[in-house]
């Protein structure tokens, strides 16, 4: 009897934790359908008003476009840099390897505020204006460590003998990479890109320092909107972002599974 009591206690506790985690998100989504300016419960009616406003707000659409482009470019660039870097760290020996690896992973440890300010100061020193390019470089610095970690971890688990077998069969180093290493790395590359995209899409702290009026991202835009007034449009925007950030990984996972099933 005591055992069952203990279990139901744990179940109750677990449910509480979930409520605590997801209730605010649920509130945002529910309130985004509330036609009133100030949300109160019970809701009086149901409407897509704020979504309509959202789609007619040019600056938000701009920010959204910026975020998408920035996130995609960041994901592509960091994987393009991350794959060869991971190959070098895992498959080859060279002097200063450990130091370099630590340096590349450092952005994870350094506070984002410091990172944001320092990149800005560096740009000042170069006497260059803030631009979209700065934002892109900054986001690559922020997300590269994650891509590196994911790809390196996968690379360690790919046995060297696969590549060696390919070489002995007559495939050159490049063909071996293309035919053997890269396909085996694909899940890690996908995961890395996803990480990279969502970190870039989500980042506020560092982006606040780097964004210009033309190159605002969605989170920075939300931040700016909150400073002026609390518009229910933000609820709608929040709901859209939640749906996006949850559905993209789910979709990617689904596609990956379908793709691998077709291969078998």
């Amino acid at each position: 009897m005591l055992k069952i009591k203990g279990w139901s206690l744990i179940r109750f506790y677990t449910i509480l934790v979930y409520i605590w985690m997801f209730a605010p998100i649920a509130v945002v989504i529910i309130l985004s359908f509330n036609p009133q300016q100030f949300g109160t419960f019970p809701m009086e009616g149901f409407s897509f008003k704020w979504y309509g406003d959202l789609f007619h707000n040019r600056t938000i659409i701009m920010a959204f476009k910026n975020s998408m482009i920035l996130g995609s470019l960041t994901a592509i660039l960091t994987t393009a840099i991350g794959i060869p870097a991971a190959m070098a760290f895992i498959r080859y020996e060279f002097p200063g390897k450990n130091t370099l690896n630590t340096l590349l992973l450092a952005p994870i440890m350094i506070p984002e505020v410091v990172l944001g300010v320092s990149l800005l100061l560096f740009l000042r020193w170069l006497q260059q204006p803030k631009s979209f390019l700065l934002l892109l470089i900054g986001h690559c610095v922020l997300t590269l460590p994650y891509v590196l970690l994911v790809v390196q971890a996968r690379l360690v688990s790919i046995k060297r003998s696969y590549e060696e077998a390919s070489l002995t069969l007559g495939a050159g180093p490049f063909q071996t990479f293309k035919e053997v290493t890269l396909p085996l790395l694909t899940p890690a590359i996908m995961a890395g890109m996803l990480f990279s995209f969502s970190i870039s899409f989500d980042d506020v702290t560092a982006t606040l320092f780097w964004a210009t009026a033309q190159s605002q991202t969605v989170p920075v835009k939300i931040f700016a909107m909150l400073r002026n007034n609390i518009s229910p449009e933000i609820n709608a925007l929040g709901a859209v972002m939640i749906v996006l950030t949850i559905s993209i990984p789910l979709l990617a996972g689904y596609l990956a599974r379908r793709f691998s099933r077709r291969l078998e």
């Binding site: 046995k159 003998s161 696969y162 060696e164 077998a165 390919s166 070489l167 002995t168 069969l169 007559g170 495939a171 050159g172 180093p173 063909q175 071996t176 035919e179 053997v180 396909p183 085996l184 291969l263 078998e264």
Partner: protein, 366 residues
């Protein structure tokens, strides 16, 4: 090359391999005849795999030269050496079908699509696994994967087949079966094969030539009978089977046999004679299987030399054979292995041991 013979397909000259300060292979000379199966045998860390990997080109040699078909290949990269390699873990590409795995090497060899199809089918028939083309490696058993690895290596018609402990990942029964299969296939195709193993039974049963290695040095090179029956030193004898070793001293020659006195004072006769001086200190070696063990009452017909009384100290029954540890009068213990007989001996039995002079080998003191 000055000393090139036409039928030597792989040659190593003074090959040395050092990893930082650790010497993995020391001054290795090797000649491998076309069509033969040569085994590199030794405990782990003896440098056998390193030699194989140097021949494959997966490892550079620190010093010395490697020749394949008379051509120096030190600077030829792996993918241009035309060798087939079988790995311990098979290394089949997990993301490719069996067909694509076997066809892999042919893609880089200017072979037409139709010809590739024909050769892959034939290779799969050769390893007795036709019809698995569309499966993935993970859907096959360990033994089947090993056969596919074999098919993938032979389909490119390599100059040399290199096998790195290919059977060690299989369980006992399957290993026996695969060993025979590899052996048959090798003699059928007549493909020069270098086989690395730490298993003496594999080496003895398959090889034309065995090269026994220890600490990066070649200990002995010869046919299976030669290295088993006439080991050149303690290590080779000990590594290949169960041996008794005794310190001994040459005392003279009698009836065309060498006489030695072993530590306990007993005199033994040996057919082995390499012109040693009287008084020379050597080691006497007798294989456990060569010792004849009889009950005390029975006469051993036609034998008058090297007969000793003893008492069975302990016995291990191994099914097909029985191991006896027999204590001699001077206290030394002799290990004897006999094919199981109807009435085996028991602990405490008084027995007579006969050590045939033919099987008394004398080797340098260890």
């Amino acid at each position: 090359m000055d000393n090139a013979k036409n039928n030597q397909i792989v040659q190593l000259r003074n090959v040395v391999k050092r990893f930082d300060s650790v010497v993995a292979v020391e001054k290795m000379d090797l000649d491998i005849e076309e069509g033969s199966l040569v085994t590199l045998l030794g405990p782990s860390g003896c440098g056998k795999t390193t030699i194989l990997r140097m021949i494959a080109g997966l490892e550079d040699c620190t010093e010395g030269d490697i020749y394949i078909k008379g051509k120096r290949v030190n600077d030829v990269p792996v993918h241009k050496r035309n060798l087939g390699m079988i790995f311990q873990d098979y290394a089949l590409f997990p993301h490719k079908t069996i067909y694509d795995n076997v066809a892999f090497g042919l893609k880089y060899r200017n072979v037409s699509k139709a010809e590739i199809r024909k050769r892959v089918t034939r290779a799969l028939e050769t390893v007795r696994l036709p019809g698995v083309e569309h499966r993935k490696p993970a859907q096959l058993s360990g033994g089947q994967q090993q056969r596919i690895a074999l098919a993938r290596a032979i389909v490119i018609e390599p100059d040399v087949l290199l096998m790195d402990e290919p059977l060690s990942a299989l369980d006992e029964n399957l290993r026996e079966e695969m060993r025979q299969e590899v052996d048959n296939l090798q003699s059928e195709l007549g493909i020069t094969t270098i086989f690395v193993t730490h298993d003496q039974r594999e080496a003895l049963s398959m090889s034309d030539t065995i090269i026994v290695m220890k600490d990066g040095l070649k200990q002995q090179e010869g046919g299976p009978e030669e290295v088993y029956d006439a080991p050149v030193n303690h290590f080779v004898a000990d590594f290949l089977g169960h041996c008794n070793f005794y310190r001994c001293r040459i005392t003279g020659r009698e009836k065309g046999l060498t006489t030695v006195e072993v530590e306990g004072g007993q005199t033994l006769y040996s057919e082995h004679d390499e012109g040693w001086e009287v008084g020379e200190e050597l080691e006497l070696l007798v294989r456990a299987q060569k010792i004849v063990i009889e009950s005390r009452t029975e006469e051993i017909p036609g034998v008058s030399l090297n007969i000793f009384p003893g008492k069975v100290k302990s016995r291990m029954y191994m099914g097909g054979e029985a191991w006896y540890f027999v204590e001699m009068e001077d206290g030394t213990v002799i290990h004897a292995i006999n094919i199981s007989r109807v009435a085996p001996f028991h602990e405490g039995d008084e027995v007579t041991l006969h050590i045939p002079p033919r099987h008394c080998r004398l080797i340098p003191k260890d």
